[in-house]
């Protein structure tokens, strides 16, 4: 896929963080990534996500990849 091509994957970090009463800073610390990278991921500007990062996010938010990622309608 060309790097600048639009995608329709939504990363539901904001909702999950709010539901669990966490802050983005706390989530970044628990997952072990920078807040800048968490912001990139949250805003859909990441080109890809490592399975290890996805695993850490799911563990930190007690959710599944399906809860974290969803496909927006075109």
């Amino acid at each position: 896929m060309p790097p600048d091509e639009e995608h329709r994957i939504r990363v539901n970090i904001d909702r999950l963080v709010a539901e669990r009463g966490m802050t983005l800073t706390q989530l970044a610390e628990r997952v072990g990534i920078t807040q800048a990278n968490l912001s990139v991921l949250k805003n859909g500007r990441a080109r890809a996500i490592r399975f290890s990062t996805l695993t850490a996010l799911c563990e930190a938010l007690s959710c599944t990849p399906g809860d974290l990622l969803s496909l927006e309608e075109s």
Partner: protein, 167 residues
């Protein structure tokens, strides 16, 4: 001072049996080495001009490569600037190298012409012309090698850009 001269310019031919015992003509370029005991200033100048250009280009290319290596050691290797710079060094090596080789052939030819006996007209054989052009291919080959490494760096830049978006 030693000068390479076509054997025909000295009236030496294998068929005529004029080669001294124990000596033989090079089957590749039909050249013999002539030792000039007291060359004129013009011949000395031609000898210098024939010898200098290619080592000069080689030194310049090595200097540019050393500068490139220093710059990537200080910063990052896989940058667009590093790739472009390496490609430029390759282009310089190819173009300046061929130019220097042409200068070398021209000055060496003039030197050879000046070293012949005055009553002899030397005509180079096709084989000697072809064999003398062979070394010219080294410069484009060096340029192509540097260009290939530049292409590898360019692809590394693209790969790094791709990986920077992976979280």
């Amino acid at each position: 001072m030693a000068v390479r001269v076509p054997a025909s310019a000295l009236g030496i031919t294998a068929a005529a049996g004029s080669i001294p015992a124990g000596a033989q003509l090079s089957p590749v370029d039909d050249q013999v080495t002539v030792l000039l005991a007291d060359p004129s200033l013009g011949l000395r100048l031609l000898a210098v001009l024939a010898a200098v250009p290619q080592p000069l280009v080689l030194a310049a290319v090595l200097g540019l490569l050393a500068r490139w290596a220093r710059s990537v050691r200080r910063g990052a290797t896989f940058t667009a600037a590093a790739a472009a710079r390496l490609t430029r060094v390759g282009q310089v090596a190819a173009s300046a190298g061929v130019g220097a080789f042409i200068c070398h052939v021209g000055f060496a030819g003039a030197l050879s012409w000046g070293a012949r006996p005055p009553d002899v007209v030397a005509v180079p054989t096709l084989a000697s012309l072809i064999s003398s052009l062979g070394p010219a291919l080294w410069w484009p080959a060096i340029g192509a090698c540097l260009g290939l490494v530049g292409e590898v760096v360019r692809r590394g830049v693209a790969l790094r850009d791709e990986l920077e978006g992976v979280i």
